[in-house]
């Protein structure tokens, strides 16, 4: 079902008058093609039979559906596609015209968003009740904010310094594991572990950044991927220290100035004379990760104005010019790596303390790919773009869990969550094809000579470095 839509969306020539025989032939060809693609892999499902080995269950009905969808999608696109694109373009132009008078007041919007974020847990309780709010704060609020924070942290490395890092999850893992080990072995509290996790992660950022200084572009990406996998494999295999694949449990939860969030007499609820509810901890965790994420953003925005931030952006644009102008590329790259890693470490510490349990499963390459895709889809270097991308990608895939009504359409065995990563992959490809520069590809220059104006994404050539 999936690949047919992918192919159906490609390359339509705008045609004034429709050539029906040609369109039909075109759609028929695509249908034939889809049939070829789906022949063995979709048409037969392998099933392990205890007595006969492998047996095949034919599913020609599914193949017929997919081929029909491919045919009609392509035909529909050829018929209505041109009008649709024109309509969309006209609509976008109208929206941007309508927004033009509001533009100078965009700064107000920022405060509205902040206020909404601050009120989010209360709104969740208000609208969905206590039971529903647990899910909305935990699965949506906290989960998305973790990825926003990771995205902003990686944005320093990828978006500002232009160093493509495919192993960012390693620093997340370092943060999480240092918190877990320090707190379970030495009894350190979360508030001591948090800065330590950042320091350790930054240290690892320097350690891993040092050897890769000479590499650029996709070679750098692959080496960082290799480092990320090495760290994960060492965590899995060093069972004496990390407990291997079964992970570490019993990590103490963060406390509110020493007040634990439990039902005991010394707990948060008892101290303030409140009725105990698990919501208190979620509220606290939500505001904690919100604060950490905003800290990341604030530091990044500030750093961009410092000489080091300017050096990062110069490095991204042109490394050779940068070196010719006397910028120390070693220091510049290492600071980007270590500061980015530090925020990854903070996020890791939060992650470990939030669940109280970590295992190497949470730090697979897929996580790095997801974080990187958030940064790229958001438009590299754009803080607000990264936040929007995290909300869309993580929130969107979480929302799939809610689509239970689809069961009524596709039958009771239909499980929308299975399609989560499938759609994620498709969205990455589609976004790259549609907007390779990400959602927010315009950006304000950090430093200007005469007047301030946004620069189109095509004018900057990040990602070469």
């Amino acid at each position: 079902m999936a690949q047919s839509e992918d192919i159906g969306g490609v390359a339509a020539e705008p045609s004034a008058s429709l050539d029906w025989p040609k369109a039909l032939r075109d759609a028929g060809l695509l249908a034939l093609f889809t049939l070829g693609l789906s022949f063995p892999i979709l048409a037969f499902r392998t099933r392990q039979d205890l007595t006969q080995g492998l047996v095949l269950d034919p599913r020609w009905g599914l193949v017929a559906t997919v081929v029909a969808i491919a045919f009609f999608a392509r035909l529909g696109w050829l018929v209505f596609g041109g009008a649709l694109t024109r309509g969309a373009a006209a609509g976008a132009a109208r929206v941007s015209r309508a927004l033009a008078p509001v533009k100078p007041y965009a700064w107000i919007f920022r405060y509205i968003v902040l206020a909404l974020l601050a009120a989010y847990p209360f709104l969740a309780v208000l609208f969905t009740g206590t039971g529903g709010a647990l899910k909305w704060i935990d699965n949506f609020g906290i989960q998305i904010l973790i990825y926003v924070m990771l995205g902003w942290g990686l944005n320093i490395v990828v978006g500002l310094a232009g160093l493509l890092d495919l192993g960012y999850v390693a620093f997340y893992a370092v943060g999480a594991y240092s918190t877990a080990l320090l707190s379970t072995h030495f009894g350190f509290s979360f508030w001591i572990c948090l800065p330590l996790a950042g320091i350790f992660a930054a240290f690892w950022g320097i350690m891993l950044g040092f050897p890769v200084l000479r590499l650029r572009g996709d070679y750098l990406a692959i080496v960082t991927l290799a480092f990320g996998e090495i760290i994960r494999l060492v965590i899995i295999n060093w069972v004496e220290l990390t407990n291997g694949a079964s992970g570490i449990s019993g990590i103490p939860r963060p406390t509110f100035f020493g007040l634990p969030f439990n039902a005991s007499d010394e707990g948060f609820a008892a101290f303030f004379g409140l009725q105990f509810t698990p919501l208190h901890r979620l509220f606290f965790l939500f505001y904690l990760i919100l604060a950490l994420a905003l800290l990341t953003n604030w530091v990044t925005v500030r750093l961009r104005r410092l000489p080091i931030g300017r050096a990062w952006e110069a490095l991204r644009e042109d490394e050779i010019a940068c070196r010719s102008l006397g910028i120390d590329t070693v220091i510049t790259k290492l600071t980007a790596f270590s500061i980015g890693a530090m925020f990854g470490g903070f996020a890791g510490a939060f992650f470990a303390a939030r669940l109280g349990f970590i295992s190497p499963k949470s730090f697979e390459f897929m996580e790095s790919a997801v974080i990187l895709s958030i940064v790229v889809l958001g438009g590299m270097g754009s803080q607000i773009g990264v936040a929007i991308a995290a909300i869309v990608m993580i929130g969107g895939t979480e929302l799939l869990r809610e689509l239970t009504w689809l069961k009524a359409v596709f039958g009771p065995s239909f499980d929308p969550t299975q399609y989560r990563m499938l759609l994620f992959g498709m969205a990455m490809v589609a976004m790259m094809v549609w907007r390779p520069r990400g959602l927010i590809s315009n950006r304000e220059p950090s430093i200007v000579l005469h007047e301030k104006r946004a620069i189109g994404g095509d004018m900057v050539k990040e990602g070469h470095g």
């Binding site: 093609f33 892999i41 996709d218 399609y419 499938l422 992959g425």
Partner: protein, 304 residues
């Protein structure tokens, strides 16, 4: 001595499979300078295709000679995997030609995620295993012990050698190969001279996928078990092989593949089996850092 020789044979077998996959990476990198991240998953897909076609053939026509069945499976798998790879290139990479450099890499990562989850969805998350396809082998006495040369190991090494010779011929002697090498050197100039660059690039993807499908069939013969997640690690190792041999170089990819296979097998045999992937990843990192042009590659000249 016999233990060493046995490991040598095993390493060469494994290395052949890596070498075949590595060619797909090296050809694509040579021609458009992108890491085809989804190539390992195309390999995994080809194992599934081979598996299904094999079961289909043996259930339709029982008692078919194993050699004939494997040839049919090989042809089907090569054709269908090539079709997939062509479609992937068409959908995910061609629209990005001329876009900024990281766009195709990210699109390829998206495609890789898509393929893994697509196969998981349509074929289920469990391991799929076949009964052993080819048993037995020669037992050669060496010194105090014996080494076993399984028939399937001979098949793997022979198939690899024959196909490499065939592809080497295509790249060196045919007009398609000339067009490929021309695009590798200068795409704009090649297109000015009347070479259909898009078609050449598509055919490069098709050739790489066909070789990955050969590796897939051999993988099925050798191990008989496949899982939807089996593409990532062989993919990375094959990429390591391509880099080690010098990316862009066909013989380099094979030599790199054999080296990676040997290192992996000897590492597991003499040191620690748990850390064999760490060894492969470390080789990748060390090669890229200290010897980015690999064994047979041309050094990358930077023009300002």
């Amino acid at each position: 001595m016999d233990y060493f020789l046995q490991q040598l044979v095993n390493g060469l077998t494994l290395g052949s499979v890596y070498g075949l996959i590595a060619i797909g990476y090296t050809m694509v990198y040579g021609i458009i300078g992108m890491i085809n991240f989804a190539h390992g998953d195309v390999f995994m897909l080809s194992v599934f295709i081979a598996l299904i076609v094999f079961v289909l053939i043996s259930s339709l026509v029982g008692g078919l000679a194993i050699a004939l069945a494997l040839i049919i499976v090989l042809v089907c798998a090569m054709a269908l995997t090539a079709l997939w790879s062509w479609a992937i290139e068409r959908v995910a990479y061609r629209p990005l030609r001329g876009s900024f450099r990281l766009a195709p890499l990210i699109s390829a990562i998206g495609m890789s995620i898509f393929l893994v989850n697509f196969v998981q969805l349509v074929q289920g998350p469990r391991n799929k295993s076949l009964p052993p396809i080819m048993d037995g082998g020669f037992v050669i006495p060496v010194g105090s012990g014996n080494i076993t040369l399984a028939y399937k190991q001979i098949l793997i090494i022979l198939t690899t050698a024959v196909l490499l010779a065939a592809f080497w011929f295509v790249v060196q002697k045919t007009s398609l190969g000339r067009a490929q090498r021309a695009c590798e050197q200068d795409r704009k100039m090649a297109s000015l001279l009347g070479i259909d660059v898009d078609r050449t690039i598509s055919l490069t993807f098709v050739m790489g996928a066909a070789l990955a499908a050969v590796a897939g069939v051999l993988f099925m013969v050798q191990y008989g078990v496949v899982n939807f997640s089996d593409g990532f690690v062989p993919g990375i190792k094959a990429f390591t092989a391509a880099v080690l041999g010098g990316i862009g170089s066909l013989p380099g990819a094979v030599i790199g593949g054999l080296l990676i296979g040997l290192i992996e097998v000897f590492w597991s045999a003499y040191f620690s089996i748990d850390y064999k992937d760490v060894a492969a990843f470390s080789i990748l990192a060390v090669t890229l850092i200290f010897m980015p042009s690999g064994l047979l590659g041309k050094p990358d000249v930077e023009k300002v």
